[in-house]
Symmetry: C2
Subunit: 412 residues, 2 copies
């Protein structure tokens, strides 16, 4: 089955938001073995929505639309789908009752424009919205299918999982299996050179993706059953792991260095604390994204001023005077101070200039010192990260987790 | 001038990344007065890239491509552009020298596949890549223009700003002006009802965008000069501000509640500190995204365990025993403790259950207490946020900044 995604929303064409709906659907359609060939985004314009829909229906068996189902006046996707298939819109009474009940529960007034959300193309399979007002639908005609989903990401995900995914799973005839081998601190062209000959295979396919501080090797195999796809995939995965060794920090599309650090700590029933200057909260914020983080994190401190570095963490005034706060010495004392005051098994610290612009003493933006303190001592690294303020901070956080991962593995 | 964006990358169709390149370009093209009608994403497939390019060229005057310029074997955009225009690819010697120099500076080996990056369609205007190896280009033929940009967001932005934006600014014949009126804690349908009659104007246009915990009203006017566009826009902006009052926390596409809090603090030369449980680092991480944050933030503490709440912030053991850590009482003592130990003028605290699943005592996920302590006392709010763990934490952080904003305004 060949699919396309059609997203409707002037906010996408104005760049107000990124198309994360298309990203989510892409991943889930791949997992269902559906081949996705295109994303299209058009604005809230009835003529252009209908034209894009008709084009997509010429190329694909399934078109999944996102957006244009809300109560506001610029929402128009269902109308375009009904017109494209030559179907009238009719009031769907159960949807109207569901909308009324949703509004009543939240103590929101039922507006006239909420009633429009209960209009459906004749004969459509209605998809309930478990977390919002706008229902979606599936319309089938002439061998083609359009699935209409809402734009707000929470509603899209809930409706996809509860309604569309089970419907599609019953119709899919091919399985894709993918592996995502994750590396941190390795260049794309370096990986490309190590894996060059593996790019020529048609099945499984191999591709490299870059994200800040990370490169991922994706391997995807296609077959009629999950088992057959895995049998094609596994020898290629083993070969790549052999070539890359411990450069691979783990496997999984959603895996992060912090999730690996969490797992290593949790397995050993150990704890960590952080002492941050330039990353200022990113390290605990990222670690706590992993459910269960309270088992490995008790406390964490942002010491942005020199005064706080001394008072909270015990960094010596002489260290700050002699080497400044952006120094290997300060990073070491921050990590050791955080480990001491928290009683944690491990501590990591960051101190640096995230920019914009160089420091008063001429130290360039992107200079960051990262230290990791453990039972057996403290290691420290001087890093020079490219990019703007947010990018430098994100790279520093990724590097701190990767340093912690390596320290945990070496302490095994 | 009508434009479309064509993004090339199987990683987009697999959902590995969101199309943030298209978002960035959309915003910048709008600022340049270029009407953007469509985004298209296709995979790394030469036939489908070429077909999508030819279709886009039939509809638009300008097609901006992103991706498919890297050294790896799946990169093929320039080839497709050359074929679409019937032009040969030729070695561009200055680009080859720039790539060699970039690789030498970073101490990277020059790979054979890096040389392919210096091949350009004949007659193209080459766009230098200030932060990476892949140069881009502008190709003009038969009244149509294709601009070829790299996929990695840092490289895309740098090349757009240094090369393509100045080139386009010289050719643009129409200006768009937009205002983004930002609200936090207001429902979309509530705003829609207050502004209903204003949606019918053709110029300026009005649209509402939702993000976690926020709704933005965008007003966009189109005219031949920036002044004329502003003259159309300003009366509508004034009317919306009159209707929404202090629900509007500020104006700007990139504005955030934390940037407003930073500005209010900085104007008064006041400081803030945080005591976080469930948000665990998000508050300082978001505040420090604002350049100059060191003037208003000295330190911040994550106290995830009860033990840390008591030891670091001085929350009384009786409070924790009687009310638990997820209580208004605990939030108040956390905020007051953070204000006391830091010496800051203000402190905000968060404590709650982000999920997944309810707490052991049955308190549902999404229950969060937020307190703000200042010179004149402490206020506290009980919140019930929907959604998953990351969503609850993000909403709690937004609500904490909005509470702090209101407290700052009331203390004026």
């Amino acid at each position: 089955m060949i699919a396309e995604i059609l997203s409707v929303g002037t906010e996408l064409l104005m760049g107000q938001i990124a198309n994360t709906d298309a990203q989510y659907l892409s991943r889930r359609l791949a997992e269902l073995g559906i081949s996705l060939y295109r994303h299209t985004v058009v604005g809230d314009n009835p003529g252009r929505v209908k034209a894009a829909l008709l084009e997509a229906l010429r190329r694909a068996d399934l078109v999944v639309t996102t957006g244009g189902l809300g109560p506001t006046e610029d929402d128009l996707t269902k109308e375009a789908v009904a017109e494209a298939f030559g179907l009238p819109l009719e009031l769907h009474a159960p949807s109207l009752r569901a909308i009324e009940s949703f509004m009543a529960k939240g103590n929101y007034p039922m507006a006239e424009n909420n009633r429009r959300q209960a209009m459906m193309p004749r004969g459509a399979t209605v998809l309930e919205n478990p977390v919002g007002t706008a229902p979606g639908c599936i319309v089938e005609s002439g061998g083609k299918t359009v699935a209409v989903l809402p734009g707000p990401p929470r509603e899209l995900k809930a409706m996809f999982e509860a309604g569309l995914a089970p419907w599609l799973a019953r119709r899919s005839d091919m399985c894709l299996e993918s592996r995502y081998l994750r590396t941190a601190g390795v260049r794309e062209s370096d990986l490309e050179n190590r894996l060059r000959d593996l790019f020529h295979s048609g099945n499984p396919t191999l591709a490299l993706y870059c994200a800040p501080g990370e490169v991922t090797a994706r391997i995807t195999a296609r077959a009629e059953t999950p088992d057959a796809a895995r049998a094609l995939l596994e020898p290629v995965e083993a070969e790549i792991r052999r070539r890359l060794g411990d450069r691979v920090y783990g496997e999984g599309m959603d895996l992060t260095p912090e999730a690996v650090v969490f797992r290593l700590l949790d397995e050993r029933r150990q704890t960590v604390s952080f002492a941050e200057s330039c990353t200022a909260g990113l390290l605990p914020a990222r670690l706590v994204d992993v459910p269960g983080a309270s088992r490995v994190l008790g406390e964490s401190h942002v010491t942005y001023s020199d005064e706080a570095k001394h008072r909270v963490l015990g960094v010596r005034r002489e260290t700050l005077a002699q080497f400044t706060a952006v120094s290997a010495q300060c990073a070491v004392e921050m990590a050791e101070g955080a480990r001491r005051i928290s009683g944690a098994d491990w501590a990591a610290s960051t101190t640096g200039y995230a920019g914009p612009g160089p420091a008063d003493d001429g130290t360039p933006a992107g200079t960051v010192y990262i230290a990791v303190a453990g039972r057996d001592g403290t290691s420290v690294r001087e890093c020079h990260f490219p990019g703007d303020r947010a990018f430098v901070r994100a790279l520093a956080a990724t590097a701190a987790f990767d340093m912690l991962r390596v320290a945990l593995l070496e302490a095994r």
